[in-house]
Symmetry: none
Subunit: 207 residues, 4 copies
């Protein structure tokens, strides 16, 4: 409440701004809770009522913010993909190809570790055909755009088959993450990361 607040009277309706704020916060809370549970228990394993309880709200409230459970998932996916896109945008501006690759590896794992639930969801959605198409499309577009970026990078670096090169690089990142998430703390993530960077730093590419 600041001095501009013109709405102090006890029985006046809240202002538009107040409502917007409340809405934004509730939406956020619900999405957060849902992401957590989708990651931990899978889309089907996380019921709407569980999500609500976990978020500390009533079951019905979700439907005030999302048309359906499907819609909730899609919102989460879209939001996540957008966030990552922003991260990645920063990396693409790095001039030196060598450094750019190294930074990409670093950043990818850093993001992944910071936002494991989202990546869990990523693999979850990718591999489950009975999940909302919208969510899959978002990821599909994300992957395509990643590959396009990588391809340009490898082309720029003068690789003979930049497309295949991009696919392999992408496979390493996703593959490592996948195994890491499945295996857990026993996975030697640091060493693997180091080795990847090393492989991609000698001259232009692994030979």
């Amino acid at each position: 409440m600041n001095v501009h607040s013109i709405n102090k009277s006890k029985d006046m309706p809240r202002t538009r701004e107040q409502f917007d704020e409340i809405r934004a916060k509730s939406r956020e809370t619900i999405m957060q809770s849902a992401l957590e549970l989708f990651a931990r228990r899978g889309y089907h394993g996380a019921s709407v009522s569980m999500i609500a309880k976990n978020a500390g709200v009533s079951t019905g409230l979700m439907y005030n913010y999302f048309k359906s459970k499907t819609d909730l998932l899609e919102a989460i996916v879209k939001h996540g993909v957008m966030t990552i896109g922003e991260y990645m945008g920063d990396i693409e501006s790095i001039e030196d190809p060598q450094e750019r690759i190294a930074e990409m590896v670093e950043k990818t794992f850093q993001i992944a570790l910071e936002d494991m639930p989202f990546w869990s969801l990523y693999f979850n959605v990718m591999m489950q055909p009975d999940l909302p198409e919208g969510a899959q499309r978002s990821f599909s577009e994300f992957i395509q755009s990643m590959f396009t970026g990588l391809e340009m990078m490898f082309a720029e670096a003068g690789m003979p088959d930049p497309e295949a090169e991009a696919k392999i690089f992408g496979a390493i990142l996703d593959g490592v993450l996948l195994h890491y998430m499945f295996i857990g703390k026993d996975y030697p993530l640091e060493n693997v990361k180091k080795l990847i960077i090393e492989k991609y730093s000698d001259r232009q590419s692994p030979k």
Copy 2:
């Protein structure tokens, strides 16, 4: 009809062997049907009655062969893992490390293409935490054993960090497959395969 089915006479009750044969065939049919549907629609998206209908049997019969849907999944996974283990066993007997790696890449993709439903299930189960633990354990053991084998291979080849090396090689295989299954026919699988083999054939390893 194999040698075990020596039919005594038309009016004799079925022999133990005949029963066993019928059982084995029914089990097989059901597992086949389930694998198909699990792959196409996901574990939750494939109902028991769908599986039964697809297999041409009654719902009840399934419970004659499998304690539960969970049990059915576990049986499929175990069987699949075993089959692959046999394939891989053959490869490990190849003397020349170079050739062994090339063969491993070749074989992996060949198997994958021949048995897409199973690999679809593989990723499906790996990334869905609300699936029967037993199935996940089977895959977990499979992965561990794969990594152990790869590690030995790279150690033998004199790599400085065989563990990380194995992880990366495994990541490439799984990553490529994952992307291939998600993206579909637009994926340049042949070129990627060639590049992988190339990378791993020069001297002992990519540098």
Copy 3:
């Protein structure tokens, strides 16, 4: 603005009359909106929030004027029944029995055409046992009083069985309306009206 809204001064608090006026108007608006929707979508098919939105007010406000959805329905029904009662009162004062019947037929259809939503609600409520008892009681009393009036009319006209005669006349009116509302524009309402009047005008009654 009618004579009641004599505004004292711009800065004076609103007078009691002004408040009452606002209340009356809001009540009216909400009832109007609800009647429309009840008619178009049925009692259960029209949600409170739909009604509020359609009336241009908030959900909460409705509960300021009506204790519940049930209460709202009852208010609408009571109001409608009262209005019709007034119309009908005028007719009863017509001296000539012949003319009175003709006028009754004319008026009934005229009112019905002018206020279709209300008559839709009328039939709706009559035939839906799970609707608020209060609403049904209002209609019940209305029907009883209609029948009483008709009975007196036919008795006065010297019919042998005025009660049955009243029931049949009432049945014709309600039956025609019911069919008209269900069938819509294909219904030959004018011809039917003419024939009814004709039947009831020759001598005292149809024979």
Copy 4:
């Protein structure tokens, strides 16, 4: 079980015929129960679980026989309309117009009294716009065909405006039924019936 029964063994599956019989009986039971409750409490007021409990079966069983609650309603309506159609077919074969009308009145009320729940449903569905379209269409077709039949009858009897005449006759029947169902035992149904027949028996039509 008769002598033809070839299926006495304890653990043989039921024959096709046995299953058909079971199915037919369950379907019937559920439809009966639903009709009762739809009539007594309205479509919305009768929940699927209530219907199931009333039928003495589990909630889920309904979905073994009907795609949805909507589908159940439509099945009931179609079945009812067909049954009435058969009744009415008999009447249309009566030669003498006078007698035919009398019989039609008699029969209509007889059927109605014998099958009140269905007629309750009839009015219920007719006047509730938020009910499955399929059910309404069935009734719509039924009404149309009734009117067509009546029109032919009145045309044959040489009435000047058979269409309007049919509408009025139909209105009387539906109107009386409607009021009878709403008012209950206080309604002088017998006298009304007598008067209707009387009105329509003098010469060809009421005058």
